[in-house]
Assembly symmetry: C2
Homo-oligomer: 349 residues x 2
DNA sequence: ATTGACAATGTTACCGGTAACATTAAGAAA
DNA sequence: TTTCTTAATGTTACCGGTAACATTGTCAAT
C-alpha cells in the first residue's frame, strides 16, 4: 500500500540532507562550475557574481564534499598516519603537531594504531588506502612485504617518523636511536658508573628500542671490560612500568654488581625506580637509573629522572611540512630531517 | 612540440596508478557490477565466477576506492573525532580504544584536536564535514552556535565523550564530573581533612573541570563551615604541572590553614607535590594532595597519588560500539552510557 | 564595420563506484 | 511444449564534484 519511494521527479529528489553545489548554483542563478570557481579560484569570477554565490553558500550552509571532488582532482586532502601506539604519550605529541600543521594547510589526519605489529600494519594499511590518502606517515620501521608492495603501488609520499632508517621507503623525520643509545651510555660511563645494564620491554617489539640497545652495546663493547647486559621483559609482562620493575630485579640477580640501568623509556625507568625504592635501594647511590623520552613528569615529579629528550612535537610538525611539500609536488631539499636528541642530566643517574 | 598528453584513447588512458574495478572486471572477464558483488555480497555470485574475480583482485592488487563508493552508498566509512588535546595522555587511551573498535568494523578514524577552543571547534568541524563522516565523536561539551548548526545539518550520529551532558546533542559516553568532584571531596572530608582547596588550570578552559570544581563546592558548602576555596592558575601558566605548583603556593598564601588540595588532574597534583617537597612540606602530613585521572604513574612512581580513576579506554570502546549501532540505524537501548569512576585511596591524601 | 583578444560564464564528459532495473539461462510446474 | 520462477549477470543512470573545451559579450585596434 505504501508508496515505495517518492518517484524520481527532477525537482523532488533530495534523498539526502546535504546541500549540494547545484543547490547553491540554482539559488545564485549561475551554473555549478561558477560556484566551484568562486570556491577555488575566486579571482576568475566577477566580484558581483562572486558575492551572490558566497551569499548563497552562507544562506544554505553549503559544505563542499571533498570526497566527490577528489574523484576528479585526485587529491583527497587526507593524510593517513600509522602510529604504533598512543598509550604512554610517546607519540601523542607527535600526532598533535602533525594534525595541527596539516589542518592549517587544509588536510585532515586519518589515524590508525598498529600496536607494534607489522602484520596488523599491512592489514590496516590496505584499509587506510581505501580512502586514497594523499600521503602517509608511519612510526614503525619494520614492514612486511605486503605492506611495502601496497606502499609502492600507492605512489604517495611516505614519511617515516622517530628514526632515520638506513634504507628509508621515501623520506623520514627523526633522529638516530643508535646514536642516542650511545650518547646516554657514554654519559653514564663518564659519570663514573662501571656496570650499566640496559632494560627494554618485550623482546623485539620495536626496532627503535633495538637500535638504542645496540648503541648501548656498542659503547660498552668499546669502553667497558664486560659484555653488554641487556634485559628484556618476559612475554607475560605487558605494562612498561612493570617491565622496568621486573627488569631491575633480573639485572640485579644476574649481575649483582650492576650499578646503573639505562631503560628503554621513561615509563620503564619509573618502574625500575619504584622497585628500587621498594627494596630500599637509594637512587642513584645504590643503583642509578636513566630513562628515555623526557616525558612531562621526568623533571617535575620529584623523580629527577636523567633521560634523553626527544622533540616529539617537532617531529610531527616537521613531518607535516615535509609531506605537504611532497604532496604539492615540490622536491624538498632534504628527504631526511634529523631533529636530534639531548641527554638531560638530572639526579637519578 | 611535445604532445600535450596522450590522446584519450579508450584503451590508453591510465593517468593514475590505481587499479580500478574496471581493470579487475576486464581481467576476470565480467562486468564491473559483478566485481562489486563479489566484494560486497559474494553469495550472489556463482562460486566459479567469484574465484576468477578474486584471483584478478589479488593479481592486480586492487584496493577499492571507498570515497568513490561513498558517493552512491552515502556512507564514507569514516568517523570523525574532535579531541580537546592529545597531550597529557588524558584522551590518548580513549582514542586508542575508539580507533581499534571502529577499525574492526571497517571504519576509519579522522582525528582533529581543538586545544579546548570552541571557536576552533566550529572551524575544524566544518573541515571535517567535508569528508562526510558517517559519525562524530567529541570530547568537548561547550559548542558555539555555528558548531551546533553544522551538526544539526549534518544529520549524523554524535557521541559526546568524558561527560554526561545534561542536554546532550545526541548521545554520550562518560561519567559525572560533578559526581566525581563530590565523591573525592567527600572522601577527603571523611579522611579527616578540614580545609580542602580545589586547584584547577586556567579559568574556564574546560567544562569538565568546572563540573568537578562544582562538585567540590557542593560538598564543601554542605558539610564544611567555610566557603569553597577554588584556585585557577593565571593565564600565563601553560603547563599543568606548573599550574599545580603555583596553585599550591596561592592556596597556602590565601588560606594558610589549608590542609589538603584536590587537583583537577594528576599532572596538576604532581606539580603540587613537587612544590610541597621543595618547601619541605610532608605529604600528606603537612599538606595532602589528591589528583584526578589515575594516569599510569599515579600508583607506580612512588608518588602514591590518591586520585579518581577514569576508564579512558573503556570510554573509547563503548563510544565505538554506540556509534556503530547508531550508524547502522539501530536504536540503541541507552543513548547515554555511564562508565562511572572510582576514588583510589593511596598515600598522598 | 570587422577582427582579435580577453574576460566571464556555460556545456559536456568523466572520475570510480553502486542502485535499480533489465536481460538471459536453466530448471520446475502446468 | 509452454509458462513461471529463480539464479546469475549485465546495462544504464547517477552520486557531487572538476577538467577541458565551448560560447558569449565587451572593447580596442585595424
Amino acid at each position: 500500500m505504501a508508496t515505495p519511494l517518492s518517484p524520481t521527479t527532477k525537482g523532488a529528489k533530495a534523498r539526502t540532507n546535504w546541500v549540494t553545489m547545484e543547490d547553491v548554483a540554482i539559488r545564485a542563478q549561475v551554473s555549478k562550475i561558477t560556484v566551484s570557481r568562486v570556491l577555488r579560484a575566486p579571482e576568475k569570477v566577477r566580484a558581483e557574481t562572486r558575492e551572490r554565490v558566497l551569499a548563497a553558500v552562507r544562506d544554505l550552509g553549503y559544505v563542499p564534499d571533498d570526497a566527490a571532488g577528489a574523484l576528479t582532482t585526485r587529491s583527497s586532502k587526507i593524510v593517513a598516519a600509522l602510529i604504533s601506539t598512543l598509550e604512554g604519550s610517546t607519540f601523542a605529541s607527535t600526532v598533535d603537531g602533525l594534525s595541527r600543521n596539516l589542518r592549517a594547510a587544509g588536510y585532515q589526519l586519518l589515524l590508525a594504531t598498529t600496536d607494534y605489529s607489522p602484520e596488523r600494519e599491512a592489514e590496516i594499511l590496505s584499509m587506510l588506502l581505501r580512502q586514497r590518502p594523499d600521503g602517509l606517515v608511519m612510526t614503525s620501521s619494520h614492514h612486511t612485504a605486503d605492506a611495502l608492495a601496497l606502499l609502492k603501488r600507492a605512489q604517495i609520499p611516505v614519511v617515516e617518523l622517530w628514526e632515520l632508517p638506513p634504507k628509508p621507503i621515501d623520506s623520514s623525520v627523526g633522529f638516530s636511536n643508535f646514536g642516542a643509545g650511545k650518547a646516554m651510555t657514554g654519559f653514564l660511563l663518564d659519570r663514573g658508573y662501571r656496570r650499566p645494564a640496559f632494560i627494554g620491554p618485550r623482546a623485539g617489539i620495536d626496532g627503535r628500542v633495538k637500535s638504542r640497545s645496540e648503541g648501548y652495546a656498542a659503547v660498552v663493547s668499546e669502553r667497558a671490560a664486560f659484555p653488554p647486559r641487556i634485559i628484556t621483559a618476559p612475554e607475560a609482562v605487558t605494562s612498561l612500568t612493570d617491565g622496568g620493575a621486573s627488569g631491575l630485579v633480573t639485572a640485579l640477580e644476574r649481575w649483582p654488581d650492576t650499578d646503573c640501568v639505562f631503560c628503554s623509556s621513561d615509563s620503564v625507568a619509573l618502574g625500575a625506580i619504584s622497585e628500587a625504592r621498594r627494596r630500599n635501594l637509594r637512587v642513584p647511590e645504590d643503583i642509578a637509573v636513566a630513562g628515555y623520552g623526557d616525558f612531562d613528569l621526568a623533571g617535575n615529579s620529584g623523580l629527577e629522572l636523567t633521560t634523553v629528550r626527544i622533540a616529539g612535537t617537532e617531529i610531527g610538525e616537521r613531518a607535516a611540512e615535509l609531506i605537504l611539500q611532497r604532496m604539492q609536488g615540490e622536491r624538498p631539499q632534504h628527504k631526511s630531517i634529523d631533529v636530534g636528541f639531548e641527554v638531560v642530566p638530572r639526579a637519578s643517574a
